[in-house]
């Protein structure tokens, strides 16, 4: 069930260049959300920006007894709303609703591979913990589903790499790539993948050209691949029909809503372009 709440900001701290982690006091949504699902966040008391914006769950925050009490979201400042969000102080209110979307597949495999570009790493932290069985979400008990998880993470430059320590602390093997070689290997993250050639399954999130490259690569390996899309949205719960993407059907394709049918799709089901 989707809940709309006003949450107090617990903290809003810098993680990397133009990248922040905001922590929201919202036990009810924290108890219900699972990895790959997202939230809509809105600045109260203004009609400009008017709409809420979609953000992935970074992770839930547990109290000493292990009960989820707060939500972490990691965001990159790119425009109007995220610019204002970076100014929000602890104690101030944020409007939000969620959990939204379907979340990541509950894979059973030897080695799960997450592939991120830009700010696309954000949905994977909670997923790593779920897959490795160190955390349960949405009332589920923790259960180990994979032996290993790797994150292949590409950024433009070192100063934009955000949360790498969080992933390492969660037990994930992190492989970095950067366009300028300032961190990890120089070049696209898909080049790193080609070099290592892990068997997968793969789950990708990031800019569309990266997801296209990932889909092509994994298809050529005949490996299973899922992608999480970041299509702009107006409502987040399926009533506005803005966030559509082309999905294959028996007779061709149809526009499907990313918010309710995704944001995670089997890469094979999407029509590129």
């Amino acid at each position: 069930m989707i809940l709309q709440r006003t949450a107090q900001v617990i903290e809003n701290v810098s993680l990397a260049e133009r990248t922040f982690r905001i922590r929201l006091d919202c036990p009810e949504i924290a108890a219900a959300i699972r990895p790959g699902q997202f939230l809509m966040l809105r600045l109260p008391g203004t009609s400009d920006p008017l709409l809420a914006r979609p953000f992935a769950l970074y992770d839930t925050v547990l109290d000493p007894s292990g009960t989820p009490v707060a939500l972490d979201v990691v965001y990159l400042v790119v425009g109007k709303m995220t610019g204002l969000l970076a100014e929000v102080k602890a104690g101030e209110p944020i409007e939000l609703w969620g959990p939204l979307g379907n979340g990541f597949p509950q894979l059973e495999a030897e080695h799960g591979v997450c592939v991120a570009g830009g700010i696309g790493q954000t949905p994977f932290l909670a997923y790593v913990r779920e897959l490795l069985g160190t955390r349960g979400y949405a009332g589920q008990r923790p259960r180990k589903r994979v032996e290993r998880v790797s994150l292949y993470y590409g950024v433009r430059t070192a100063s934009l790499a955000a949360g790498v320590e969080d992933f390492q602390a969660a037990g994930c093997e992190v492989h970095l790539a950067s366009d300028d070689g300032s961190i990890g290997e120089r070049g696209f993250v898909t080049r790193l993948l080609e070099r290592d050639r892990p068997a997968g399954p793969f789950v990708g999130c990031g800019p569309e050209p990266m997801l296209h490259a990932l889909t092509k690569l994994t298809a050529s390996w005949k490996a299973k691949c899922y992608v999480s899309l970041e299509t702009p949205m107006a409502c987040g719960f399926g009533v506005c029909f803005s966030c559509v993407t082309k999905v294959k059907t028996a007779t061709g394709w149809d526009y499907k809503r990313v918010c309710t049918e995704g944001p995670v799709f089997d890469a094979d089901s999407l029509v590129v372009g």
Partner: protein, 305 residues
């Protein structure tokens, strides 16, 4: 004593004047859990067309200052799918369901209105005479004679109350509203979106996949108030105000300007619980006016001259 919230628009009686607008509430199922449907005066589901439509290419919406520009393009699976898959759920809800249809020509309007109006459990039919986003489509409600004729022909096949939803993109909405009344409409919904454009100057192209779009949200409220007031003063037929309504104050402004009911649209996107919150705030607002019923407040605005 709690005030009487019920309103009557010609043959249509509603529990309260707070409805949700077509295209902004999906097929209601999406809002389950967020909205207590029993609190609403009614629900207008997304426009249904004769045949399935894929809709416009994305981007389909873009935010503008205090507004939203959209060109969804009536993405829907057609009337047969609607009647089979959405209507049973909708009519099971404890509120009035007002089916909304759009034809590509007059005959299609008549066919759709007959199917929708004769479906069991439908409280009324709203004719979307005014969608600005349909490629090659005609904005029917820009023409007095076409409006009168479509409403008349639809009225003849529709056993339930009929509402004509009009466009603001005309010089004189009053004459179009008169035409709808002449055709036999029970009420007019004022208004659909205002035609607009967003430009990406660096790419030298429109932002929306469709080019132009329809403007909605708080930015359009003054325009809607003006139109509601103009039509109300002409005493033509009951008015459902639509456009920029997001708070109880917006609702009361529309009602005193002459609306008998209102529809919440874009606000459902950015404040999903807005509609039911507004219903709960209605009694206190009526008390401020010293009114024991919504009916007393309708058109209560004093106007000089």
């Amino acid at each position: 004593m709690s005030p009487d919230l019920s309103v009557t628009l010609s043959r249509l009686k509603l529990r309260n004047p707070i409805l949700v607008a077509s295209g902004t509430f999906g097929y209601a199922r999406e809002m389950e859990g967020l909205v207590d449907f029993a609190q609403l005066g009614g629900i207008v589901p997304k426009t249904v067309t004769a045949l399935p439509r894929v809709g416009n290419p994305p981007p389909r919406t873009v935010e503008t200052p205090s507004g939203l520009l959209n060109a969804i393009g009536l993405d829907n699976d057609g009337i047969d799918h609607f009647l089979e898959h959405h209507l049973p759920y909708l009519t099971s809800l404890p509120t009035a369901i007002i089916g909304n249809v759009a034809g590509e020509d007059e005959d299609e309007f008549v066919e759709l209105t007959a199917k929708m109006g004769q479906a069991s459990g439908i409280a009324a039919v709203e004719l979307n005479l005014s969608c600005p986003n349909v490629a090659g489509g005609i904005d029917f409600a820009t023409d007095v004679e076409i409006t009168r004729r479509i409403v008349k022909r639809c009225r003849d096949v529709c056993p339930v109350p009929l509402i004509a939803k009009l466009t603001p993109n005309v010089t004189n909405v009053v004459s179009i509203a008169k035409a709808a009344a002449d055709g036999g409409a029970d009420a007019v919904s004022l208004v659909n979106t205002l035609l607009g454009l967003a430009v990406d100057w660096k790419e030298k192209r429109p932002v929306l996949g469709n080019g132009t779009g329809g403007l909605s949200g708080p930015a359009i409220k003054p325009v809607v108030l003006r139109i509601v007031w103009q039509v109300a003063r002409a005493k033509i037929l009951p008015i459902v105000a639509v456009g920029g309504i997001a708070t109880i104050d917006d609702v009361m402004e529309m009602i005193v300007a002459g609306a008998s009911a209102v529809q919440i649209g874009t606000a459902n996107f950015y404040d999903p619980m807005a509609s039911t919150r507004i219903v709960s705030e209605l009694p206190a607002a009526l008390k401020v006016l010293g009114c024991d019923s919504v009916r007393e407040a309708i058109g209560a605005m004093h106007v000089g001259a």
